[in-house]
Symmetry: C2
Subunit: 332 residues, 2 copies
């Protein structure tokens, strides 16, 4: 994405110019999270309601927020998710936080962007178990939603594209600036302890930043899991090969963001690592061929915990009630 | 509860004195919802987190807010609720909104107050499926929770009584003042349309206020369902008899609040009425022996929709992350 890279480069340059006199770290492989820009506020508000609305599921019980819980780092903190009729999902739910920074969505990148992603779970029988047609029929039966879609999109058209566009616009607000690490990057030298700075140095020197870099500390490439040694957990997932059809892409996954990683346990596509310490140990060993000592591991974990930024802070939305004509959910 | 009634009477008297010159309705059987008072703010904030924390369930997926969703009138808008492993609950989830005004909790009043209620679903195998011991063990493993309990309760003790006390304190904030009907009661004559006022008059003259009265428009007595004609839905629930053991109390239920009733569909203990119109028709017929005309039914429904008050408006809580020692949920 050349345009994106150019923008990032310009921004980095400007950031460097603006704060270099204040002691900012200007040549780091990780860049601060920028607050969202150029958002359509009306669309964000509509998308927020839809994100929290379980009527987008067949059961009327599961919303986007069920598995990408904004009280819990944008995840469900489960190895794999619970779907319609308690279906056990095949893969760990990635965080929605900072997901607008990803080069593509889902672990295998099968959705190009947030809007393409948002339609997936609604119609997945093992997730929300609904259909796009039924979801739109439900929304069209609710006068307050009909009015709000009309206001936001300037048209009477209410189709799945408007639904997913609004959800995606809301999700773009879910970035988490102002982590202690970003404060340090921007010049606040006492934002990090010596242990945390040492952890960051180790994170760089060991090669972790080869994949975990940029604004999201990840999310910008697909990589093979198990470069030096085999991954100890699930080995069945196809990974990127499910999208490209290429055998060389088997077990390639989108590198997850490490922003807010303290909140997004358990780790890996199969949720097989319960703790950051375990995840660091595994990644060092299977990706880099390194065996971190206990104190090195602790330093890296200390650094990773400085990546927790400002969590989403907005008023719980009030959903418009169903009308007498709204088809009722089918929970059982 | 004589003390409560005395307080209510004094409040009503004072309200009458204060606003009578402004044209307030001073002798109505329904009284305005009062904003909450004398709350422990620290305990409210802790209780809010607990209310939204799915780690209080065995699966790590179900929180208080799952079935008493504060985006949806404090209910799940399902006939009966979904519990652990998609268990189908036996009874409709009552709204948590204004539940502090109820004479007791649950449809059969088996919990004396909100604190007694809050422990029930956590340990119910068909709801959150956990145990009080495991819930407390989970909380004790999370340093931020341990600190917050200590700050709020001034003690290192962290047991189920503190957990339920905090949840109950938060729930006391969930009253919904400022409905259009309350504005009208307090003197704003143009807050209601002629149709709505006619609906209220019919609601009174038909005898609905015999049970649906007071601050919550219900919630203050147990009554037999099916006085004049049999209830058309589920007839298996024991009702109040499950608590008293008296056959005379069979199919007696706590009269539900009608505050926010537009939002709390479907109606009755079995959730068998999908619309307000249907619920009004049934109640008139089986409780009062009345057959409302179409326009009478519409007037009463119009009145009922004026009982929607200010919905809870607070920032989505951020939950403290589990520690490495926190026992992980068992979703499957």
């Amino acid at each position: 994405m050349p345009i994106r890279k150019t923008v990032a480069a310009i921004t980095l340059l400007c950031a460097g110019l603006a704060v270099s006199s204040a002691g900012a770290q200007t040549s780091e492989p990780i860049t601060p999270v920028r607050p969202p820009q150029k958002l359509n506020v009306g669309m964000v508000e509509l998308g927020k309601k839809l994100y929290f609305d379980p009527r987008l599921s067949k059961s009327g019980f599961i919303s986007c927020n069920s598995c990408h819980n904004l009280s819990m780092g944008g995840t469900d903190n489960l190895p794999t998710s619970i779907g319609d009729h308690w279906h056990q999902g095949p893969i760990n739910a990635p965080t929605v936080l900072n997901s607008s920074l990803n080069l593509a969505q889902f672990w295998d990148g099968r959705a190009a962007d947030l809007q393409a992603q948002a339609g997936g779970p609604i119609a997945n029988p093992g997730e929300m178990g609904f259909s796009h047609t039924l979801a739109v029929d439900m929304l069209r039966s609710i006068p307050a939603y009909v009015r709000e879609f009309k206001q936001v999109f300037g048209s009477d058209k209410l189709a799945i594209d408007q639904v997913t566009a609004a959800i995606a616009e809301f999700e773009k607000t879910l970035v988490t600036p102002n982590s202690r690490f970003d404060q340090w990057l921007l010049g606040k030298q006492d934002a990090l302890s010596g242990e945390e700075v040492a952890g960051y140095k180790l994170f760089k020197d060991s090669g972790c930043v080869g994949c975990h870099n940029g604004e999201a500390v990840g999310g910008n490439s697909f990589q093979k899991l198990g470069v030096v040694a085999p991954f100890p957990g699930d080995k069945q997932a196809a990974g990127r090969a499910a999208v490209t059809g290429k055998d060389a892409d088997r077990f390639n996954f989108k590198v997850p963001t490490l922003r807010n990683v303290e909140l997004t346990y358990p780790y890996f596509h199969d949720g097989s690592a319960n703790t950051l310490s375990e995840a660091v140990e595994t990644m060092g060993r299977i990706q880099l061929g390194k065996k971190f000592t206990g104190s090195e591991n602790a330093q890296i974990v200390a650094f990773l915990k400085t990546l927790t930024g400002d969590q989403p802070a907005f008023t719980v939305p009030t959903l418009p009630p169903s009308s007498d004509k709204t088809p009722r959910p089918k929970p059982f």
